[in-house]
Symmetry: C2
Subunit: 192 residues, 2 copies
DNA sequence: TTTATCATGTAAGTTGTTACATGATTCG
DNA sequence: CGAATCATGTAACAACTTACATGATAAA
């Protein structure tokens, strides 16, 4: 039915791993999918309610150890089939909205020092993310060894994490490349 | 005023290079910004009309060599200041919506052969994009040599193009990495 | 004359965000 | 007892997308 909504499939991909509440899903997305898909909690709760009506997921109300009661959702057989048959079709183009690169379009019109400073900040941001993802990767491997997650769940998460690591390394390298190009392109722009 | 709308700044970044019509801007975005920002023409025309009211751009109606009359927009001094002062502030996090990676989350739950085929297709897609961007880069260098574009405009466009090239190379490399991880993780999954 | 490209727009619908709103439990 | 975290939602708004709509000019 729903030909589009990627969010639905992200939720199903979260639930095929293990049952989770809306709160858990929000945290999981922030942690493990934020480099390729992120939405706020206010999108997740209505989506879960609709998907429950559609029969893709079901829930149980469970008392929490700390905090109020939770609605713990799990994937249904219908949800499983829906997810996996979608996953085997080719993906549509990825959407990117990168403000940094829009600003970069203007770097020829701005003072060199300022631009180099921004590129340095941007590089540090990507290095921090890189370290974070590398930490997640070690944690994930530990989870597999301890049998906390299945082999099936491990593989997909590892692969996306590797993509996150590659992306951050590539972006940080670009920051260096860009800084070098700017420095060599205008060796004395501040003297003009 | 408008604290957010990245589209406005993309349009201004297009017009600071040279005056362009809505149609030209659409083509320019498809060609040169599509790897980090893309919208359809139906967003551009209303934005230009609003920005004209706000004094960021102005237009002249010019007869086209081929086709109907064009509204050729140029950036105003107010638009220039607005753009360049925005460009020197740090950028917000880039937004990514990558369906391929959502599908990748499911790759442990799918047959190995099918997944390897998808990864091969995805790799080819990125290789084609890479070739396209490398062609754009050569064209851009030629434009600079021929004096068609200014040094200021050249630098920013080159830098974003270099990022596009790095991104496509990185994604293609990930496809190989992922394929190898899958093959070695499950040497005989088809036999199970 | 029909197709492709040039050229500009509007209207309806989708999908999200931000802000608002509530309330439980635990830790310091 | 106040702050942090846990937990779930709604309402208003923003920013797009898709489809609709029109029309000029040129080449085949």
């Amino acid at each position: 039915m729903a030909e589009k909504k990627t969010l639905d499939y992200v939720i199903l991909a979260g639930l095929i791993r293990k049952p989770r509440s809306g709160y858990d899903l929000t945290k999981w997305m922030e942690r493990e999918t934020s480099h390729f898909f992120v939405v706020g909690h206010s999108s997740i709760y209505p989506a879960l309610a609709r998907m429950e009506r559609e029969g893709l997921v079901r829930y149980e109300v469970v008392a929490s150890e700390r905090g109020p009661k939770r609605k713990v959702y799990s994937i249904t057989e219908v949800g499983r089939v829906t997810l996996l048959s979608w996953a085997q079709e080719p993906a549509v183009e990825r959407e990117v909205r990168d403000e940094q690169l829009v600003k970069t379009l203007c770097y020829g019109f701005l003072p060199e020092e300022m631009v180099l400073e921004r590129l340095q900040q941007e590089k540090e941001r990507h290095q921090r993310k890189l370290e974070m993802y590398e930490g997640f990767e070690r944690g994930l491997q530990a989870q597999l060894r301890e049998g906390v997650i299945s082999q099936e769940a491990y593989l997909g998460t590892l692969l996306t994490l590797r993509r996150g690591i590659g992306t951050e390394k590539g972006y940080a390298a670009w920051c260096d490349e860009a800084a070098e190009m700017i420095s060599s392109a205008t060796p004395s722009r501040t003297n003009s």
